[in-house]
């Protein structure tokens, strides 16, 4: 545990300054953007509405660079031989690129919200200031961003370890390639395997499943009946499925990052 604390402190020392600058720059830019309408009339705005999007986008960039040491021979040796276990080193980087980053983004947004509220008052605005703070739910907004951020972060975290050059771009390309493969495979399967089950194409005959229709002017219609018939009840809750998928993606890609880092040579 003591070693992990040092590994974490080391990472914080390396990244804190950069993260603070980036968080303030992003939040500040959002505030300035939202202040543009003030040229005509001063009005309340909510900088928190863009918090999820900017946090995810900035977080991806931060995460892709979190293993920057692996990109230079001199730094790589230092990181590989840093006296901590693989789990401690990867764990420290994980905490910095998730919790610390999120915390700084939240604080930066809070700071610009306060500044924006003060400027609003100074500019003569007299509406309630709670609007600047997402009607008081700024923390809820920040917390709700995490479950959406983590799966994306996990993918780019793995990419940061796996790709020696341009990890952000290559991870993005891999994801596009990967998803395209699924789409193509899905289309092929639909066309040649499941086609007989859909009305509209006589070549393969017709085997109708109630509630599952494709073709004609209707496009794909899946009203859930098929799903209900073929999967156990516990999986019929879409929110549960979505959460399971998110958790799986996070755990699998963090584990892959750990395994890849363990095998990394200098």
């Amino acid at each position: 545990m003591n070693r992990f604390i040092w590994a974490l402190r080391h990472e914080i020392a390396l990244h804190l300054r950069n993260l603070m600058v980036i968080a303030m720059a992003v939040a500040g830019s959002m505030m300035l953007f939202r202040m543009l309408p003030w040229i005509q009339s001063v009005q309340v705005f909510n900088v928190w509405s863009t918090f999820p999007a900017v946090t995810i986008i900035t977080g991806v960039i931060i995460t892709a660079g979190i293993f920057q040491e692996l990109r230079s021979p001199g730094h790589r040796i230092e990181l590989l031989l840093r006296p901590a276990s693989v789990l401690e080193k990867v764990g420290a980087k994980l905490l910095v690129s998730t919790v610390l980053f999120w915390l700084l983004m939240t604080l930066a947004h809070l700071a610009v919200s306060v500044v924006a509220a003060l400027l609003y008052r100074l500019a003569g605005g007299d509406a309630p200031l709670v609007g600047f703070f997402n009607e008081g739910y700024w923390l809820v907004m920040a917390l709700e961003t995490m479950p959406d951020f983590l799966p994306v972060q996990a993918l780019f975290f793995f990419g940061a370890v796996y790709f020696r050059k341009n990890p952000a771009g290559r991870t993005m390309l891999s994801l596009v390639g990967w998803l395209s493969t699924y789409v193509v495979a899905g289309v092929v399967a639909l066309r040649f395997i499941f086609a007989p089950y859909f009305p509209g194409d006589g070549r393969f005959g017709h085997r109708h499943i109630p509630g599952f229709e494709m073709g004609g002017d209707h496009g794909l219609q899946l009203d859930g009946q098929v799903w209900r018939e073929i999967v156990p009840g516990i999986f019929q809750n879409p929110e549960l499925l979505y959460n399971l998928l998110r958790i799986s993606v996070v755990l699998v890609f963090w584990a892959l990052a750990f395994l890849r880092f363990r095998e990394t040579e200098g």
Partner: protein, 295 residues
Amino acid sequence: MTDTMTAKVIAGLEGVRFGYPRRKPLFESLDYRIRSGGVVGLLGKNGAGKTTLLKLISGVLFAQAGQVTLFGDPAEQRRAATLARISYIPEQFEVPQIRLREYITVQAGYFPRFDRQMMERFLQRFEVPGNEYLSELSFGQQKKVLIAAALATGAELVILDEPTNGLDIPSKQIFRRMVAEAAGDNRTVIISTHQVKDVENLIDPIVVLDEGRIVLDATMEQITSGVAMRRFATEAEAEQAGALAVESYLGTAVALVPATAEGGEPLSGALDLELLFHGAVTRGAQLQAACGGVA
């Protein structure tokens, strides 16, 4: 100091094969043991594989066949407890973007036996300024900080790859004194270099790596009792006396010969490491036999 050849083995390579992709293998079946204590001078030509050997020992690179052990564990496992016993300063290094004091604090956290007083003393001797960001120091200053930290960690194995590159002349002298001060029976310092003059009177034992093989591994005691420096009238005369390496100076030939050889005028003073190196790469087997070292 403990007899280097009977001291315990802290790292070893057995039948190691290693090569970089699309290149001729560097090591086919390399065997080598590092014993506790002393300042090991690892010498070799450019491209002989010195840095690769150090990376294999420290677990930065993985052997393609054979086994590399470090303090009894497979080196490639890079266990935290093992890593806390070594300190490695590569030839090509980059410093982190943190201030000097923070760097010292972090290093002290990782290495339980970190000696802050030694670190401060070494920094003072090197005249490294107070608390700058490491990245804002000159290359030489950065190197001094890393060397000072490596020696102050208390690590049992300190690996310095070409440590004198980038150091000015006074700093090289300070470096030699610091290494001599930090080394001991329980601490091994490996210095890899092709600038043997920089580490003269410091390294013992001497290991010469050539064409993927250890062609010499002997203590200074073994070397000085096995070979001698003599001056001959001509190179031919030196060769006749069984010279292992010869170099002509101002019309005479200075040769490294087996101690049992006859003829020539004995030379006093320190052993010429460049001549020894030359002998190791041209007549390694004969030199090793004369020194009785363990190759």
